[in-house]
């Protein structure tokens, strides 16, 4: 365990949620916890409830059942601004309606601290510059967001979340549709942030990288928590084949590197399943 203290960031018990127009529960009986400094990856097939669970944990949706605590306090007792000062949240999709530069985008990360009227001060500018550098988008600061590549966009959005100077990050598929180097740079960045004590909760479809970078995986299946624990305990061939409906094989990462030995998932040809 990497976590230095065992402070609980998120603690949810018995969560249940159904979308107003949904025909089934999007989340059912979900119980989970996230402690400080952890990287926790939510994994599971499409529609298994990963995004919904993140929305419930950050207060964007109110659960029909169960309770959630953030930093030891009932989530419902937090205002949206209070949450935003502590949790940097990244939605899956975002399409600016009007042209915006990277710096303008990252600057909006200071909103939770500035409110409607206060002018950005030295602290704010420092936070913005640091976030731009950390995510290596400082050289793109004056580019228009829509002209960026997919990887650059995600780094710019992550920079905005970091400019919030949050204790924790909640990221919905931050590495979706990225090429290898873009994806790896995001994971490396998250690992560096976690090493500095930041808590990271993210959803992803990349089981192999999650296995290498996350301290813990939470596998969701039809809105329920199917498995929760260290990568090697969650990534079991039988569980995964059942949840994903596809035969897989799990082998250790061949190395070299610090992740040598981490469980890696290889989908098999459908007829080769034994």
């Amino acid at each position: 365990m990497k976590s230095r203290q065992n402070d609980v960031v998120w603690c949810a018990t018995g969560l249940g949620y159904r979308y107003p127009s949904g025909d089934r529960e999007a989340i059912e009986e979900a119980t989970l916890g996230v402690t400080t400094g952890e990287i926790v990856a939510l994994v599971g097939p499409n529609g298994s409830g990963k995004s919904t669970l993140i929305r419930l944990l950050v207060g964007a949706r109110k659960p029909n059942r169960g309770k959630t605590e953030l930093l030891g306090r009932r989530l419902a007792a937090w205002s949206a601004l209070e949450i935003a000062r502590r949790v940097g949240i990244m939605a899956q999709h975002e399409e600016p309606a009007f042209p915006v530069t990277v710096r303008e985008l990252v600057t909006t990360g200071r909103y939770p601290h500035l409110g409607a009227w206060r002018r950005p001060g030295a602290d704010d500018h420092r936070a913005i510059e640091r976030a731009l550098e950390q995510c290596r988008v400082d050289t793109l600061a004056d580019r228009s967001f829509v002209t960026l590549s997919g990887g650059e966009r995600q780094r710019a959005r992550l920079a905005r979340a970091l400019a919030q100077e949050p204790l924790a990050l909640a990221l919905d598929e931050p590495t979706a549709a990225l090429d290898i180097s873009s994806e790896m740079s995001i994971w490396e960045l998250l690992r560096a942030e976690a090493a500095k004590g930041k808590t990271v909760l993210l959803s992803t479809h990349n089981l192999n990288l999650a296995a290498r970078y996350a301290d813990r995986l939470i596998l969701l299946h039809r809105g329920r928590v199917a498995a929760d624990g260290a990568p090697e305990t969650v990534l079991r061939e039988r569980t995964l084949s059942e949840v994903y409906g596809w035969p897989v094989k799990v082998t250790p990462h061949p190395g070299p590197g610090p992740d040598q030995g981490a469980p890696q998932v290889v989908p098999l040809h459908p007829e080769s399943a034994s």
Partner: protein, 332 residues
């Protein structure tokens, strides 16, 4: 050019536009004639023309232009749609129906304030209706349906006006032209004060919301994640934009496209967040409309063109331009 310099120059541009609007008209007074008229030193006719006709008209034009520009910028930010504008969305039409109802029912005769209040109710109802039509089961706004809903609502409101006016024969046609095409011929100081009051209150309130607008324009869900009370911001901003639209409609009838191309001009020229965009839009609108009205008064003098004709001649090509840019940017 820094943002402050831009805003300062725009203030000068508004002053220049009002000056030009004062200078030109059916009767040639010359700069000195206008000055003497304003100071009261000129002959009584020049005084009457400048003080009683041109000055309230020019100032009202500036206020209407500013109000429409601001309303347009607000709708565009909230709806995340660069083609939104009070006229396109049918909000102007709703305000006009409210005004016509107040006149037809005799409320306007009984109490002067009932006309703007009724127009405001019409505008608010119109935007509520259009949003209701364009909201899908997931309670998300369908932007493609939105403009269609606006056009449908606008057409319906025009029909309502024509219906209401067909019961009052005399002058009905002229009144219909006013409510549908707009005009500043009825300018008076009373209207100026009314609109100035609404506009200054609305400007301050909108400036307070401007950061939220930035975030909402980037993405509604993200705005919520950054702590913006999206629903509350949207509700208050819709009400403010309806108020501005209603004020403009009561003062000058239905003038189209100002709210569309003024915010875009500001975006194209200077870009930037709403903290700058909103005041800049207010000022560009306030500079544009007195000039457009001057053209409308002078080009066929002593006859006058409807103001809506001028704004449409500027606005429609602009609308097409924005539309084409947008469809080109959209992924194939």
């Amino acid at each position: 050019m820094s943002r402050g310099v831009v805003l300062a120059s725009l203030v000068l541009a508004v002053a220049a536009a009002i000056a030009i609007s004062l200078r030109f008209g059916a009767v040639g007074l010359g700069w000195s004639g206008v000055w003497d008229g304003l100071t009261g030193d000129g002959d009584p006719i020049a005084v009457a023309i400048t003080r009683d006709l041109r000055l309230p008209r020019a100032v009202l034009a500036a206020l209407v232009g500013g109000a429409l520009g601001l309303a347009g910028a607000t709708f565009q930010a909230l709806l995340r749609n660069p083609l939104a504008d009070p006229y396109v969305l049918g909000v102007s039409g709703g305000a006009a129906v409210g005004a016509v109802v107040a006149i037809g029912a005799g409320w306007a005769g009984a109490a002067a304030w009932s006309l703007p209040v009724s127009a405001f109710a019409g505008a608010a109802l119109a935007i509520a209706l259009v949003l209701r039509i364009a909201t899908n089961v997931e309670r998300r706004l369908d932007v493609r349906v939105l403009l269609l809903a606006g056009v449908v609502a606008g057409t319906f409101f025009n029909a309502c006006i024509l219906l209401a006016l067909s019961f009052q024969e005399a002058e009905a046609f002229r009144a219909a032209v006013f409510w549908m095409m707009g005009g500043l011929g009825g300018a008076s100081w009373r209207l100026v004060w009314m609109l100035a009051l609404a506009l200054s209150g609305a400007s301050i309130a909108l400036l307070g919301l401007s950061r939220s607008f930035d975030l909402i324009a980037h993405g509604e869900e993200t705005a919520g994640f950054l702590g913006v009370p999206v629903q509350r911001v949207r509700l208050s901003a819709y009400l403010i934009a309806s108020l501005l639209t209603a004020g403009a409609v009561v003062a000058a009838g239905g003038i189209g496209f100002v709210g569309l191309f003024v915010p875009h001009t500001v975006r194209l020229l200077w870009g930037g967040g709403h903290r700058f965009l909103l005041p800049a839009t207010l000022l560009v609108g306030a500079a544009f409309l007195p000039l457009a009205d001057t053209v409308a008064r002078v080009i066929t003098a002593p006859a006058e063109l409807p103001l809506g004709v001028i704004t449409a001649f500027v606005g429609v090509p602009f609308f097409v331009l924005v539309l084409r840019r947008q469809t080109r940017q959209a992924p194939a």
